[in-house]
Structure formats: C-alpha cells, structure tokens
C-alpha cells in the first residue's frame, strides 16, 4: 500500500463514520489503519474498521468459478468483466479532524463530503495524530457490527509502527485504555493481550 496516495472515494458519510469505495479491487487500507479525506475546508480522520468485497449489482451473487483453474489469478484473466462487477469497500470510524493548523481528536462539525478522496495517512501523520490518545474513547464507546476491541487493538498496533520505540507507545496507549476500561477488567485484559506484537 502506497501511503499518502489516494485509494478510495467516500460513497456514504455520516457524522460518526464513512464508507469509501476503493479504486482497486482488494486494495483496501488495512484494518485499524488511519485514513483521511480532504473534501471541504477540513480533513476528516478515520480508523478503518471493516473491509468488504462484494458484487456491485444487488441481487447478483458472486459465484465460484475456479474449479477448473490452477490459480486464483486465472479466474480474473478468463473473466475480465469481473473486476467491473465487484467492488471493495471499507467503513471507517471518524476519530478527529484537522482544520487550519489545528488537529482535533473529536468529531468534525460536518460529515465528510460525498466523493471526497480518501488517503492512507503517512507514518508522520499517524504519529502526529496519535500524540494524543483522546480518540481512543471514541473507539471504545462505538457500537460496531464487529468487535470494537479488535479494531482498537489493530489501530494501536498499526500506529505503533510510526514510532521508533513502538513498545513505549503501546504501553502509553495501554495505560490510556486502563483508565477507559477501568470498570471492566476482563475487557481490558483481552484488549491488552491483543496489543502484544
């Protein structure tokens, strides 16, 4: 994945989350990664929480085609139209925004504009954004169709790559979680176990 290049476009947006369609099939940013949109006078930061590849036409299910073929790539070569019929989308939870020179770890006033381009943040941006871990409360309180704790752990593991001392970052983040999840020792334990690399 080329960091800093645009990879998708917003096709559905709300205050709390956005859905984007990737330009290339199966080329979504990884779970937990930080993406941003540049539409409007502000940039919206979001954490990828779900990636999905599906048929573009509702009602037309994808069927298995590779029984006679040696590799998966041959399927696409034999059916070039497939790339047009399928799409990879992802959903990301809004965790902050940037306006002027300010970086804010809370929701922007408006959702990301539809069709805004979505970029995968560069490591420096990840580092700048994760200087404050206030956004973790947005993640921790979210209700998602998948396990929030998985997303939190994936996000922190991903962000830790932006730091030369990734262990120190994870400990700092772990402590933040310890406060946030102080009333739920079992949940804290399970998230922390997933932070280990």
């Amino acid at each position: 994945m080329d960091l800093g290049t645009k990879v998708a476009e917003v096709i559905e947006a709300s205050s709390a989350e956005l859905m984007a369609q990737c330009y290339k099939l199966d080329q979504a940013p990884p779970l937990g990664s930080l993406v941003k949109t540049k539409g409007g006078s502000w940039e919206t930061y979001a954490v990828v929480y779900n990636v999905e590849t599906h048929s573009l036409e509702p009602g037309r299910r994808v069927v298995a085609r590779g029984e006679e073929m040696g590799t998966e790539a041959e399927i696409f070569r034999a059916n070039p139209q497939l790339a047009k019929l399928l799409s990879t989308d992802f959903r990301a939870l809004v965790v902050g925004h940037c306006q002027g020179n300010g970086l804010y770890h809370y929701l922007p006033p408006k959702p990301a504009p539809i069709y805004s381009f979505v970029y995968v943040c560069q490591l420096e941006e990840v580092k700048a954004f994760t200087q404050s871990l206030d956004f973790l409360s947005l993640l921790a309180d979210a209700r998602l169709p998948i396990s929030v704790d998985e997303v939190i752990a994936a996000c922190l593991r991903y962000a830790s790559r932006a730091y030369p001392d990734s262990q120190a970052f994870l400990i700092k983040a772990g402590k933040e979680l310890a406060w946030l999840l102080s009333s739920d020792a079992r949940r804290l334990n399970s998230v922390l176990k997933r932070l280990r690399q």
Partner: protein, 544 residues
C-alpha cells in the same frame, strides 16, 4: 537518589486527598515503584502558594476498581504488568505535612513554619532535595551538631544542641539498637558546642574511656577523644586499673552520706518490705541521719533484739532490713566514712567545664547504680539550686547548664518512684536551675507518663513492644503516623528524632561512631598526628 545535584527532586506523584491531622494521600506516578518508597522519607510538596515539607508515613497498594483484585490482570506478561502499574493498580503514599515555606521574601527570612493547612488537590509531590533538608535542619555551625543523615540521602541532619539541653531528653530503643553509640555522639555534641557540661552515670563503663562494638573491637570513649575536657571518676578502682583506664578520681561514699530516702528508693532492688523502709526512718530518728547506717550494721544480735523491742519493730521486718543492708555493706566503695568529698570533687570539675563520667566497673548492678546515681545527683542538684537561687537574687549569671545522663531510667523514673527521686524532680521542673536529664532506656513504658511528656526531645531507635512505643509518643501529635515510622526502623543505627530541638520529626541513620574515620571527623588527632602538628607549629614559629 544520591544525586550530585543538590536541588534535584524526583517527582513521585500528586496529592489526591487527605487532611492535616491524618496526613495527605499521594497517588504515585506509574513510573515510581512502591518498592522504592520508604516510610520516614522526606518529601517536598509544591502547593499553590507555598512549599510544604512532610514525611512519608505509609505506603499502600490501591486498585482503581475492586473487581480488579478479583480478576487480576495477567502480570506474568511484562507488557500487561507495565500497563497496569500506575493505572488500574497504583501505589499510594500517606504523607504528614509538617512544615511550610512561603515564597515571599518575609517568609523566606522567617524560615520553615509548622504546617497549618494542606496543599491543594493534585499538588506535585517530590522527594525532598538535599538542599531542602539543609534548609529545614540548618547547616552545622557553633550550635548545631551533625547527628546523622536522612534515609537515602547524604545531607547532614543537625541537632540544635543549645536548644536540646534546655530540656530533659530521652534516648530509647530496645537492646542493641544503638542507644549507647548515639548517646556518645550526643555527649560529644554537647561538649563540642559548649552547650552544657555533662555528668554521666556510666553503668557499664563504656562512655568514659573505652567501649566495645558488637564485633568486639574497642571504641574510644570520651576521655580518649577529648582528654582535656573529660574526667573519668570510678567506683571500682581495681577494674579501672585492669582496663588501663586513666582515672581522675576514685569515688568513695560514706555510710554517713546515706539517708533513709536512699534506702526507700532501693526498696524493690533490695527486696525490702514496706515495713522495713518505714523502720529505716525510725532508726534514723533513733541514731541520727548521719549515724544510723553504721550503727545498724554494727549492732550485735543482742543489741539488735533490744533495739527492735524498744522501737516496736517486728522481728521479720528487722531481718528483712538487715539482709538488704548487708548487700550494701558488700560494696567496697561504701566506707564508714569517706575521707574525700566526692560531690565536691565532681562539682569542682563541672565548674571548670570538664565533663565527668562516673564508671561503675564491676558494680554494674541496680542496687549500686540507683544508690550512687541518686545520692550524688541529689546533692549536686542541691548545690546547683543554691547557686541558681543566689544568682537570681544577685542578678548574676546562672551556673553553666548541667546535663545528667542516666541509663536504665525506668528504675528511677517509674510511676512509683518518680515522685521521690531527684531525677523525677529534675524532669518535672524543666530547667529551673539549669540542670536537665538525658535518660536512656530500653523500656520506656516503665517510665512515669508525666515524666515522658516532659521530655523535650525524644530520640528513639527501634522499639517492638507496643506499650513502649505508646509511651514514647504520649502527648505527641501525629502519633499513629509516627508510630508506623518507628516500627519500620532498621534494627540498628537508625533513629527517629522528634520534639523541641528539631523543626520536624526526622528519621536518621545515626552518624558513624567508632571508626578511625569517625574520630577524625570529630576533630580527634592521633598521637602521631598531634606530634607532627606540634612540630609544624614550632617550625612555623622559627620561620617567622
């Protein structure tokens, strides 16, 4: 923490709750391990308007949610262990704020004042710096004597000796905790700062010439270190000679110097009955205060019988008394009539500013100790009193302050005796006639509470008996906190000092005593060095 930077203060955490009387609670930062903390250590607290000084009195482990203790985090995983330290679980200190220093010029001049309030919420708490401690206890000077170092610091804790001797004081601690060594240092401090002259009743003959440390090595006593300032008196000439002690005077006490009160004090020690001590007063009336003892000791069987029937003394009482008095007769330092007056001799030395240590040699039992210490002190005190009263009337200077050191103080100052002994009186009268006590005891609970509460400064090494601990803290504010500090002292060479002569309670590691190094620091020069110094002075004389 032995930092070179004297101002360096390590941050520990922040105040989260508390009160002035119970102390404030400090949540430790995650980076600080509870295991590095110790009760008795000093902290500085940066309040909004002033800086506070306090002492750590307790360390505890806390969990943010009690459920954590039921499902403990998996701390076998080092990562999880690091995360939960300081968050889910954290350390807490209890700190007793004791002094404050304001930040304006006036309060800086005034110096530390007793804390009358507490720092605001979340004030930063740091380990006190070397400079902080110096600010509180002052540097060594012509009044302050260096007695030890605070826990984990190299700063000197100094005791204002001139304040110290203004009241009676106590040194406590169970056996082997360092009372004798500490007392030796105190006596040296009093001597060097010229705060008072000392009279030491040296039961075990260890202060005057030479003692021994635990390993059996010899330790120099006061006279070896300060030959021109100390005289050793002895009750046991022979023992002193064997030990090659250079003594100044051999104390003999005449039968005619022993009064009925002296016998009364020995009641427990000599196993006398109540009736026997009453009989003593009768006998004294019969024969006269100065003659009774000799007369009774010389009574023949028949004369004795006649006498008791005449005085209506029961036979068993008489026999009980005779047995007690025979014990006294066996002391060679007791003679029918002493040719020289010991009291006068002691006073002569004290008047010249020379400290007197009376060693007991082989007579280190309580009968001899109580008898002699009481008898001499009573008469010396009477002289001081007379002098002080004369001086007061004539507007003259009071006699030079005198400090009398006694060991096993509970033998004199127990509730039963303290009202009668001279020591009880001195302790109670404070410093009316410029005489105070330095009492040393391993069983302070045996001492009358009233006397304990009159002691100005108490220096206590480890005590493990609950009653002893309680008695040391009678009438002290912050009692329960200090108690926990005391109970955590090391078994040796550590002491808690609190009271009149220190601005706030302090735990010290007592200054080293007994090594060549320590003598040097106290200004003692070995003979070879003395000679060199003298030669150098002569050389210098010729050179000019």
């Amino acid at each position: 923490m032995n930092d070179h930077n004297l101002d360096e203060r390590t941050r520990l955490g922040a105040i989260v709750s508390g009160s002035l009387t119970r102390g404030v609670e400090v949540k430790l930062d995650a980076s600080v391990s509870v295991e590095d903390m110790a009760v008795g250590r000093y902290v500085a607290i940066e309040g909004e308007k002033r800086r506070f000084f306090g002492m750590i009195t307790d360390v505890s482990l806390e969990a943010i949610d009690s459920r954590v203790t039921i499902t403990p985090p998996d701390i076998s995983d080092p990562f999880i262990a690091q995360v939960v330290a300081g968050t889910t679980t954290y350390g807490k200190l209890r700190v007793l704020p004791m002094l404050t220093i304001g930040s304006d010029a006036v309060s800086i001049l005034e110096g530390p004042q007793p804390a009358k309030t507490v720092p605001t919420h979340f004030s930063e708490v740091k380990l006190a710096s070397q400079r902080d401690v110096e600010l509180v206890f002052g540097a060594e000077d012509d009044k302050r004597f260096y007695v030890g170092t605070p826990l984990d610091m190299e700063t000197k804790v100094c005791l204002d000796v001139s304040e110290f001797v203004k009241r009676s004081n106590g040194v406590f601690g169970k056996s082997g905790t360092g009372k004798t060594f500490l007392t030796c240092l105190l006596l040296i401090g009093i001597l060097q700062k010229r705060a008072a002259v000392s009279l030491v009743f040296d039961m075990h003959s260890e202060y005057g010439w030479e003692g021994r440390n635990e390993k059996g090595y010899k330790v120099k006593g006061l006279k070896q270190l300060f030959p021109s300032k100390v005289a050793v008196f002895t009750l046991d000439e022979e023992s002193s000679r064997w030990r090659k002690v250079s003594t100044d005077f051999v104390v003999k006490i005449g039968y005619d110097e022993i009064e009925p009160e002296d016998i009364e004090l020995l009641r427990q020690t000599l196993n006398l009955t109540e009736a026997s001590t009453q009989a003593v007063y009768q006998l004294a009336r019969e024969f006269g205060d100065r003659k009774w003892l000799e007369a009774v000791l010389n009574l023949s069987e028949d004369n004795g019988k006649q006498l008791i029937s005449k005085l209506n003394i029961h036979d068993s009482t008489y026999r009980n008394l005779r047995r007690g008095l025979e014990t006294l007769r066996r002391f060679p330092f007791l003679v029918p009539h002493a040719s020289d007056n010991s009291v006068q001799r002691i006073l002569e030395y004290l008047e010249r500013g020379i400290n007197v240590v009376l060693e007991f040699g082989r007579f280190d039992d309580f009968a001899a100790y109580i008898l002699v210490a009481n008898l001499l002190s009573r008469r010396i005190y009477a002289q001081y009193r007379e002098k002080a009263e004369k001086a007061g009337g004539a507007d003259m200077a009071l006699p030079h302050p005198l400090v009398i050191t006694i060991e096993e103080a509970h033998r004199f100052l127990n509730p039963e005796l303290s009202a009668q002994t001279i020591f009880g009186r001195i302790a109670r009268e404070m410093r009316k006639y410029n005489v105070t006590l330095l009492v040393i005891d391993q069983r302070p609970s045996g001492i009358d509470d009233e006397v304990m509460s009159q002691l100005g400064t108490k220096i206590t090494c480890l005590l493990d008996n609950e009653r002893d601990v309680d008695s040391v803290f009678t009438g002290v504010t912050g009692k329960s906190e200090l108690k926990s500090v005391l109970s955590k002292l090391e078994t040796k060479q550590q002491a808690l000092i609190f009271g009149h002569a220190v601005p706030m309670p302090v735990v010290i590691k007592t200054r080293e005593y007994g090594s060549a190094e320590s003598y040097k620091e106290l200004g003692f020069l070995e003979a070879a060095e003395l000679k060199r110094k003298a030669e150098k002075e002569i050389e210098d004389l010729w050179a000019t």
